[in-house]
């Protein structure tokens, strides 16, 4: 039975699309047939991060409107087996997605896939609610700052009250993914610590992704950062995927690197 996982946050620019791309790639690498859907109608970012923007012919809205079949719209990833992308449409019409239409597409995907990853748009309105409505699990992407934590808290409230599962009295399983984590800025109290965020949101921690230049590099190359085995951000995503699949692994990259440039600069006598 396919699992539907929404990647959501409330706030924009926190790393939902980056995380959706990395996690779906990681699941596929682990041998699970995975599809990642871009719910961000109008922005269409996921195909860029996945490096398949030139291969987009039909999109999610075309499938809902029966202008194309799922088979025609799904893009098979070039690098990773078992991985498919369903791109968003460029249309400005925010109401292009309907509950019935989304449900029909998800039901069809459930037949073939192990994991369905939904990359949510920002906000807590219609678009974000559509992306989370059918979710079995939610990865709540949060940056270590007050406004992002507050928005994550709001989206958790919506998951508990406005999702299909909530309506059926079966809670959505929640995961906290803390991204763009910068231990140096935590030490200087410019950012919240892992413990601070965990204390406020009170949901299990799936992973901590460090702030890393490798992320920007990866998205410029159209290659999910999880494929960059050198980068700590890539490794942190790999760990998160393994935890999502049930493994227990210690969290890494929570402390500033001892031999880091800044440490030497600041601590050198």
């Amino acid at each position: 039975m396919a699992k539907i996982i929404v990647v959501t946050s409330g706030k924009g620019g926190v790393g939902k699309t980056t995380s959706s791309a990395a996690i779906s790639t990681g699941l596929a690498l682990a041998g699970h047939k995975t599809v990642v859907i871009d719910f961000d109608v109008g922005l269409r970012n996921l195909d860029l991060i996945m490096g398949c923007e030139r291969r987009v012919v039909y999109d999610f809205v075309n499938v809902i409107n029966k202008e194309a079949t799922l088979k025609q719209a799904l893009i098979k990833d070039k690098r990773t087996d078992n991985l498919f992308i369903l791109p968003a449409s460029q249309t400005r019409d925010k109401d292009a997605l309907t509950i019935d239409g989304v449900q029909a597409v998800l039901n069809e995907l459930k037949e073939d896939f192990d994991f369905i990853i939904c990359d949510s748009p920002a906000g807590i309105e219609q678009g974000a609610q559509m992306a989370l409505y059918f979710a079995d699990e939610a990865i709540v992407v949060t940056n270590p700052e007050v406004s992002s934590v507050r928005d994550s808290d709001r989206i958790l409230g919506i998951l508990q009250s406005k999702s299909l599962r909530a309506e059926q009295g079966k809670p959505v399983k929640e995961h906290l993914l803390l991204t763009r984590y910068n231990p140096l800025r935590v030490e200087s109290a410019e950012m919240l610590s892992v413990a601070d965020v965990e204390e406020i949101l009170a949901i299990p921690l799936l992973g901590v992704i460090p702030e890393s230049e490798a992320v920007l590099k990866a998205s410029n190359q159209g290659q999910p950062v999880i494929l960059d085995l050198e980068a700590n951000a890539g490794q942190a995503y790999s760990d998160a995927v393994r935890r999502l699949l049930g493994e227990t692994i210690e969290h890494r990259f929570l402390e500033a690197e001892k031999k880091g440039f800044f440490k030497r600069l600041l601590g050198g006598k």
């Binding site: 808290d153 409230g157 406020i200």
Partner: protein, 247 residues
């Protein structure tokens, strides 16, 4: 400025009903003294309805009222066997409410009660008192075991609200009765929203944006000044909210 000098409104009021079953001045006085000593603060300046089960003479009735006043009770109305007492009742500045409708409940004080006293229940208790308020035997309690998140609102109508998790900043919890939060209270908590001045807010860790009891409220700045991030209770006394640590 408006020209209006007053406004008339309806209200409900909880008061004590004193049922007078028998009236021998000496016995009555000693029994009343005993009852009042069981919970002095509760009875002091309590408004009182005299319910005459026994028909009294005008002299007996005047004596009864005087006795009550000596014990700092404040008779304000009379019902029951009012009969020929109408003019005395009037002269003493009391109201004859023998034609009115009443809802009643038993009175709970610290000691077992005598048969002489009964209490009348309503939404608005008459006066604040530091001893437990008389309450209906079973009030519904709403129990929430998940965090109340920003943007969410939970209301316990007609009773207490118990939350065994945190209340986030931007969340709002309300109850007609008390509110208990066995977690951090970061949002807004409004107890006694229908005017129960005896309602209280209890929490494991106090970091609230706003606390209100029966419409009186304090904001985060004031909340921060005492018991910040500590276990605390908040209650209303003489129109002021008090924050007190709980051990």
């Amino acid at each position: 400025m408006t020209d209006t000098c007053f406004r008339m409104k309806g209200t409900t009021l909880t008061s004590i009903v004193l049922e007078v079953i028998d009236f021998d001045p000496d016995t009555f006085e000693s029994q009343l003294a005993e009852k009042i000593n069981s919970a002095p603060q509760f009875f002091t300046r309590s408004s009182l309805i005299l319910h005459l089960v026994k028909l009294l003479s005008a002299t007996e009735f005047e004596l009864l009222v005087a006795l009550c006043r000596r014990f700092k009770l404040q008779p304000m109305a009379v019902r029951g066997e009012v009969g020929a007492l109408r003019s005395v009742i009037n002269d003493l500045g009391l109201a004859d409410v023998s034609q009115s409708k009443f809802t009643e409940s038993s009175l709970k004080t610290t000691k077992p009660e005598s048969t002489a006293l009964k209490e009348q229940a309503a939404n608005e208790p008459a006066a604040s008192s530091p001893v437990p308020t008389p309450a209906a035997a079973t009030k519904p309690v709403k129990v929430i075991s998940r965090p109340v998140r920003s943007g969410q609102q939970v209301y316990a109508e007609g009773g207490d609200l118990v939350i065994t998790a945190a209340v986030s900043e931007g969340a709002e919890v309300l109850a007609d009765g008390n509110i208990h939060v066995y977690g951090t209270l970061r949002g807004r908590a409004l107890a006694g929203v229908k005017g129960n001045v005896h309602a209280r807010v209890f929490c494991q860790s106090l970091d609230a944006e706003l606390i209100s009891i029966a419409g009186q409220f304090i904001m985060h700045e004031t909340v921060k000044a005492s018991c910040w991030k500590q276990p605390a209770q908040i209650y209303l006394e003489e129109d002021t909210l008090h924050i007190e640590p709980i051990a």
